[in-house]
Amino acid sequence: MQKNALNILLADDDEDDRLFFKDAFEEIKIQTKVQFVHDGMQLMDHLMDPENKLPDILFLDLNMPKKTGKECLIEIKKTDRLKNIIIAIYSTSSSEEDIEDTFVQGANIYIKKPSDFNTLKKIINEVVTVNWHYHTSGLNRDNFLLRLK
């Protein structure tokens, strides 16, 4: 399907969530390379470091210490080098208005953290698949909006 593995980056301060995430990615068919950061500042440092390859998809938790997910989102979208990264907000339940607001701020995907492992697998599978379609079929990234519950 694709030549190289997909570069995935997850920013989440919760150890258990990182574990779930890692396990889920291991069990899907598509080839991926998953990296983790623990908080907002670490995330920005990682992204701004020219040594680091930019992720294909960034999964971003909103509730993080030091710098919140929303702050990171706004900052990323303002940075020329980073603004084309596909960003998936990965968060616990938020109000409808907050969800819409993340889209307005430039997020491409919104995922509500599921409480079932299989559901998580399904979700990330769909995210990666859809993302790949966008990647390969000339679809407009600016219009890439996806919401998964």
Partner: protein, 594 residues
């Protein structure tokens, strides 16, 4: 009297007055003329009778002479001559008088001359008689002749006198006739004029007395008004003042003094003494605006504090307006309000408000944070449970497996509860952004949320056209989801749920107890289902938070759903009602303002 033209009172009075005066003048001129004529006619009569008299005197004088002459002739006594001698004088006197009296009448003058001639002749005859009766010169024949002649002359004289009298009488008669003619009209004319004048005067009287009545009424009203004003000033805690800008004189109403804490009329109001009452903080401001009054001719609202003689501080609000009266003099009318009570109340309200807001905010964050933060550990529990694979379960004891599934069930229940609580707290705390939305779209979204259940229960939803309203879209969507969800959940066993949704426009006056009367029109949206219904005695309690009509094992639910619906509807200033017939169906009615 309808033919009287409709002047206003003072004009009509003037007109009446002028007319009456004219009439009176006219009448008096007529009376004067009348008088004159009467004078004239009586003078004329006098004149005639004067002439008559003189003529008779003349005759009498001559007769006296004759008698004297006869007496002398008979007796030759000198005593009989004196009348004869006096008579000559009398005749002359009368003649002179007559000449004067007839000076305007040429004819009579002529007659008089003739008469004079005759009289002279007679006297001559007298002389002759005397001469010829004198024994010395006695001549009987000549005496008889002269005596006889004298008698004829007497007759001629008589005749002439009569003639003259006749003429005078005729003359008089003619003049009197003329006067009569003139006079005969006057009384009728005068009386009619008099009556007219009388009528006008009566009208004037009527008008005056009416005006007077009205004045009395107005006066009374003014007095009452004035009394009311004083009372209302006292009760309403305001006062008025007048500042005559031209005369620089200030008048305070009684209450103005009282509001300042002094008895009425205890000092003469001038600008400076007022400033003495003003609190030091506001003195400059008030003084400035008082100066501005003279410049700008009005006083916009000004708020300040005053200090009463007993050191009590009161809060005042004043305003003034310039009035120019009919003479052009300018008076500034001012009103002062003692707003101390309201002010203090306001401050108290504001404090309470702040406290409430703070308390609310705290509660809201508590709600939100509690629900939100409770989710995290719960989610973990559920996720880890889901990680326990079949393989792991296979090596557990049966009770172990059982416990795991019970944990899963409880966790699920807790999740539902927290979700609903979170939703409930959100309907309160999110900022209320009203957007004009098509309710049909929101209904569609709600239906698509419930697609699975609808499909599973083979439910049918019929909706009539819903309006476009200014709403919080997410909340209305949630409202629809909850109501339809309920209808789907509580269907009759074995009966596919049928839900019909209808909308109609209503006026708030039809539902005075339910609806906000400040909004005129509402949309009434009814959700009817054919589910199991509920006992209508609970139709109000089901909206209470955590109230349920079934146990959680029979029908899973948290008791928050309808409370959320009620909150949402309240956020929109609407109302929600429920009714039902058991085993037939339920109806939920939602009122939303237009």
């Amino acid at each position: 009297m309808k033919w009287i033209p409709n002047f206003n009172s003072s004009n009509s009075l003037r007109v009446i007055f002028v007319i009456a005066v004219f009439i009176l003048l006219f009448l008096s001129s007529i009376a004067y003329k009348h008088n004159q004529d009467l004078n004239e006619s009586s003078k004329l009569a006098m004149h005639t009778y004067e002439i008559n008299l003189q003529l008779e005197r003349l005759m009498s004088a001559i007769k006296d002479a004759e008698t004297g002459q006869r007496g002398y002739i008979i007796t030759r006594n000198n005593r009989f001559l004196s009348p004869y001698l006096y008579s000559r004088d009398k005749v002359n006197a009368s003649f002179v008088t007559l000449k004067k009296l007839t000076v305007d009448n040429a004819v009579q003058q002529k007659n008089l001359e003739n008469l004079f001639k005759l009289i002279i002749q007679r006297f001559v005859s007298f002389e002759n008689c005397l001469k010829y009766s004198d024994p010395k010169t006695y001549d009987k024949r000549k005496l008889d002749n002269h005596m006889f002649g004298g008698r004829i002359l007497m007759e001629n004289i008589r005749f002439q006198v009569d003639k003259m009298n006749d003429i005078e009488r005729k003359y008089l008669k003619k003049r009197l006739e003329i006067y009569d003619q003139e006079i005969s009209l006057s009384p009728v004319f005068s009386i009619s004029l008099f009556l007219t004048a009388l009528v006008f005067i009566l009208l004037a009287y009527r008008q005056i007395s009416r005006d007077f009545q009205r004045l009395k009424v107005f006066n009374k009203r003014l007095l009452i008004s004035s009394g009311l004003m004083d009372e209302s000033e006292i009760i309403g805690k305001f006062s008025t003042w007048q500042w005559d800008l031209d005369a620089n004189k200030i008048d305070y109403s009684d209450n103005q003094f009282r509001l300042l804490g002094v008895p009425p009329n205890s000092f003469v109001p001038v600008k400076e003494t007022f400033l003495d009452f003003v609190h030091s903080d506001d003195k400059q401001e008030v003084s400035k605006s008082m100066d501005a009054i003279i410049e700008k001719k009005n006083l916009p609202f000004i708020y300040y504090k005053i200090v009463r003689p007993n050191n009590e501080i009161r809060y005042f609000k004043s305003t003034g307006k310039l009035l120019t009266d009919q003479q052009g003099s300018k008076i500034l009318l001012g009103i002062n309000f003692d707003i101390t009570d309201e002010h203090l109340l306001n401050i108290e309200l504001q404090e309470r408000n702040k406290e409430l807001e703070k308390s609310n905010k705290e509660l809201a964050s508590f709600n939100h944070v509690a629900s939100h933060d409770l989710q995290e550990p719960l989610r973990k529990i559920q996720t880890f449970i889901s990680r326990v694979s079949e393989a792991d379960k296979a090596v557990m004891s049966e009770s172990g497996r059982d416990y795991i599934s019970k944990i899963a069930v409880s966790a699920k229940r807790m999740r539902v509860l927290i979700d609903d609580l979170l939703l409930f707290s959100r309907t309160n705390t999110t900022k209320k952004e009203f957007i004009k939305s098509n309710l049909n779209e929101l209904l569609q979204n709600a239906e698509s949320e419930l697609t699975e259940v609808i499909h599973e229960k083979k439910a049918i939803i019929n909706a009539s056209k819903l309006p476009k309203l200014e709403v919080i879209p997410y909340q209305i969507e949630q409202l629809f989801i909850n109501l339809i969800g309920n209808s789907l959940k509580y269907n009759r066993a074995g009966v596919a749920p049928e839900i019909s949704i209808e909308s109609e426009k209503v006026v708030s006056t039809d539902y005075p107890d339910l609806l906000e009367q400040s909004v005129k029109k509402f949309y009434k949206i009814t959700f009817r289902d054919n589910g199991m219904g509920f006992d209508p005695q609970f139709k109000e309690t089901i909206f209470i938070l955590f109230q349920r009509l079934h146990s959680k094992t029979d029908y899973p639910g948290t008791g928050i759903g309808l409370a959320i619906c009620k909150k949402i509807v309240e956020n929109h200033k609407g109302h929600i009602l429920a009714d039902s017939t058991q085993n037939v169906g339920s109806t939920f009615t939602v009122f939303l303002p237009e």
